[in-house]
């Protein structure tokens, strides 16, 4: 073989070594082949490679070594010969004490010296530290009977390949670290998804998210912003790693800004910056300045094709998120968007359910207390109506026969100031109190005064009650009445054709202890009519938030003055419903009409 051919062959081999080392994903798997090539190139027979176990990057002290590759070992150094490979050796000790510093080092091999069996005459080896920077990752040994066997050319080759191996090993180590991190990320992501899907409180979920994203991406800070607060702005909903907690500070940033967040909201594209401090200083918002952030990455939370918020991570060192990290950040932002949306929907659903349940309970209480049918008294007409609102109010009415001559009847209409189950319960209590008090006391003003004191004594939720209470003598036609802050009942007097209010002074019940109520009386003649109602009638609202008002109510009553109690009541309810249209009313619609029948009619 000519020397030229020889050189070409050697170079080809060297190139092959370099390529295999550069391209291998698992460097250890190609070390064997590279070693064999090298040994052949050096005109030698034997070589081996020991790798140091990673020790957190520190040299010094004894390290653990593993035999990572070997070529053509003599029988005495067979890998199955435990004695041969147990314990340390000169070159490893040199390495551990930082003395294996030269490109190659001539070492009289302690292992070969002490081992029994066929050594094939080998006694020395050239040891090359496999380095990455100042860290020694392993030792490459090529062995020979004596130093004369190493030509200068061969030693050159040895150092070249040694440095290539070092680089390749470092690359592989970094790759392994990344692999490990990504493995960790995959696990974290799975865990994260499960967490997100199982969490139902939005705030807890968002806090969890920012903490985890920050940890996973090894970022200094992470924050999640959603639209809210001021229109056209994003507010911080969760943050991790900030010096000044932007959530506690209720920080908001404009959606239409020209920097990262604004851009992301408009374009739905991530915005990455290696160092925001390199911007024109005026282009760095104060809230970023104070945190001394440099690296910034902002991604959108995409919900149904639009930006539902942003997720951002910051670094106090310059850092440009790489593709893999960005991929994870976006993945998490999307997961978060879905989870937040789901949670929001779930919360709304629960709210609706709770409302419906409350509504049902309230209704039961309310309907259970209302008289099942209007009273039937000869010479009198009674018509009643209760229309439940969307929310349960606390309206009620009641009729009860009073003890005595059997011609007196207590009548009450009332309204609790509040909604929901508390109002319904207070209503139940109030109606019981009014009935029991009414059965004992004769005069309406006394009844209201006593009810007022009883309610004032025990008002758990600051609820008040408006009530109009009257006692009707069905034989004489006399009505005695008192009012505690309730809509004044209306009296249509057939004889004069006038509609009048039953004015009697009185403050809403439960507001002040020990107060008195004015008491008045009128005489009802045939054709006269009374309308007792709650503010659900006069305060019925239309789409423009206009209320029906007393004038309209009066007009309806007057227009139907000659009709039966039921007809008048129906006309009023029709008028209210016509007025409100399809607008859901927030108040119950409650009223009753009493009419003294016209004799002979």
């Amino acid at each position: 073989m000519s020397s030229e051919q020889e050189l070409i062959e050697k170079l080809t081999t060297l190139n092959r070594i370099a390529e295999s080392l550069n391209q291998a994903v698992d460097v250890r798997s190609v070390l064997e082949r590279a070693l064999a090539d090298l040994v052949e190139l050096m005109d030698l027979e034997t070589g081996w490679i020991s790798l140091r176990e990673p020790r957190d990057g520190k040299d010094g002290g004894d390290s653990n070594y593993t035999l990572a590759a070997h070529h053509n070992l003599p029988p005495a150094l067979d890998v199955d010969n435990a004695d041969a490979w147990e314990g340390s050796c000169t070159c490893r000790r040199l390495c551990d004490t930082g003395q294996l510093t030269s490109a190659y080092n001539e070492v009289r091999c302690s292992r070969l010296e002490s081992v029994r069996g066929d050594r094939r005459g080998l006694a020395v080896h050239a040891s090359v530290p496999l380095r990455s920077g100042d860290r020694v990752l392993g030792i490459l040994n090529v062995s020979a009977p004596d130093w004369a066997s190493f030509s200068p050319q061969a030693l050159n080759l040895l150092t070249t390949v040694g440095s290539q191996m070092g680089i390749a090993l470092e690359r592989a180590r970094l790759f392994d670290v990344l692999q490990e991190r990504h493995l960790h990320e995959e696990t974290a992501l799975l865990h994260f998804s499960n967490q997100l899907l199982s969490r139902l409180d939005v705030d807890g979920l968002m806090d969890y998210l920012v903490d985890n994203v920050r940890e996973l991406l090894d970022a200094d800070a992470c924050a999640l912003l959603l639209p809210g607060g001021e229109p056209g702005s994003l507010e911080f909903r969760a943050a991790s790693g900030w010096h000044l907690d932007p959530v506690a500070l209720r920080r908001q940033i404009p959606i239409n800004g020209s920097d990262g967040p604004g851009l992301v909201m408009r374009t739905l594209q991530p915005v990455l910056e290696e160092d925001i401090q390199k911007r024109n200083p005026t282009a760095v918002p104060a809230w970023l300045q104070t945190e001394d952030f440099k690296g910034q990455a902002v991604v959108p939370l995409v919900v149904e094709g639009r930006a539902g918020g942003i997720l951002m991570v910051h670094q106090r060192q310059p850092r440009l998120l790489d593709e893999k990290d960005l991929h994870y950040l976006r993945l998490m932002a999307n997961q978060a968007a879905v989870a937040i949306e789901k949670t929001r929907l779930h919360a709304e659903e629960i709210k609706v359910q709770a409302m419906e349940k409350e509504l049902a309970i309230g209704r039961q209480i309310q309907l259970g207390l209302l008289p099942s049918a209007p009273p039937v008294v000869p010479g009198w007409e009674f018509a009643t109506r209760y229309e439940a609102a969307r929310e349960v109010g606390g309206d009620f009415y009641d009729f009860f026969d009073l003890p005595g001559d059997g011609h007196r009847m207590g009548m009450v209409i009332a309204d609790v100031t509040g909604k929901g189950v508390p109002a319904a319960l207070f209503m139940a209590r109030s109606s019981t109190v009014i009935r029991s008090t009414g059965l004992k006391a004769r005069s309406p003003s006394t009844v209201l005064a006593q009810v007022n004191d009883l309610l004032h004594k025990d008002r758990p939720s600051e609820l008040l009650l408006t009530a109009s209470y009257a006692v009707l003598d069905t034989r004489q036609g006399r009505l005695v009445y008192a009012n505690g802050g309730h809509c004044r009942p209306l009296w249509f007097q057939a004889r004069t054709g006038k509609l009048r209010e039953l004015n009697s002074q009185g403050v809403i019940l439960g507001a002040f202890r020990g107060i008195e109520f004015e008491e008045c009386a009128i005489d009802l003649e045939p054709g006269d009519m009374l309308v007792f109602y709650t503010d659900g009638v006069t305060e019925a609202m239309d789409a423009d938030h206009q209320i029906l008002g007393e004038e309209r109510l009066r007009d309806v009553i007057v227009a139907n003055a000659g009709a039966s109690a039921q007809a008048v009541l129906d006309a009023i309810v029709d008028a209210v419903q016509d007025f409100a249209g399809s607008i859901a009313q927030s108040d119950d619609l409650t009223l009753f009409v009493v009419r003294r029948s016209v004799l002979g009619a």
Binding site: H486, R513, D587
Partner: protein, 131 residues
């Protein structure tokens, strides 16, 4: 509903709530909360400017009563004189005043008997000067 708060000086410091919108539903709670907040920071005299209030629900009335109770001490003497005054028609809250309620709101206040313990002024400055 919106509440703008201003702090005025008559003979004594007076806090004014300029309320805008409807006092109903959640707005009632908001009103109560705001009142609680200013009371905690030293307000003893409060004016509710109702110029821009179109409507007050029964819940809203309850809130006004609640604010009234917050502003008045629970001492038995006070309660007794208040009760007597309400009966005689001579009592008006020295700590809570109303300004310029609309027709609807006036009507609701009267119906509930609030005119028996709260004074209403047509002019904010007069209300502030009345403390």
């Amino acid at each position: 509903m919106e509440i703008v708060i201003s702090y005025e000086n008559g003979k004594v410091p007076v806090t004014v709530f300029h309320i805008k919108g409807e006092i109903a539903a959640e707005a009632s709670e908001q009103l109560e909360q705001q009142a609680q907040d200013v009371l905690e920071t030293g307000t003893h005299n409060l004016v509710l400017d109702l110029t821009d209030v179109a409507f007050i629900s029964s819940g809203g009335l309850r809130s006004i009563h609640y604010i009234f109770t917050l502003l008045h001490s629970d001492s038995p003497e006070d309660a007794k004189s208040m009760r007597k005054g309400i009966l005689a028609g001579t009592y008006r809250s020295p700590h809570l005043k109303l300004v310029n309620p609309s027709r609807n709101v006036t009507r609701a206040l009267q119906t509930a008997g609030y005119d028996m313990f709260l004074e209403t002024y047509s002019d904010l400055q007069k209300a502030i000067a009345s403390f």
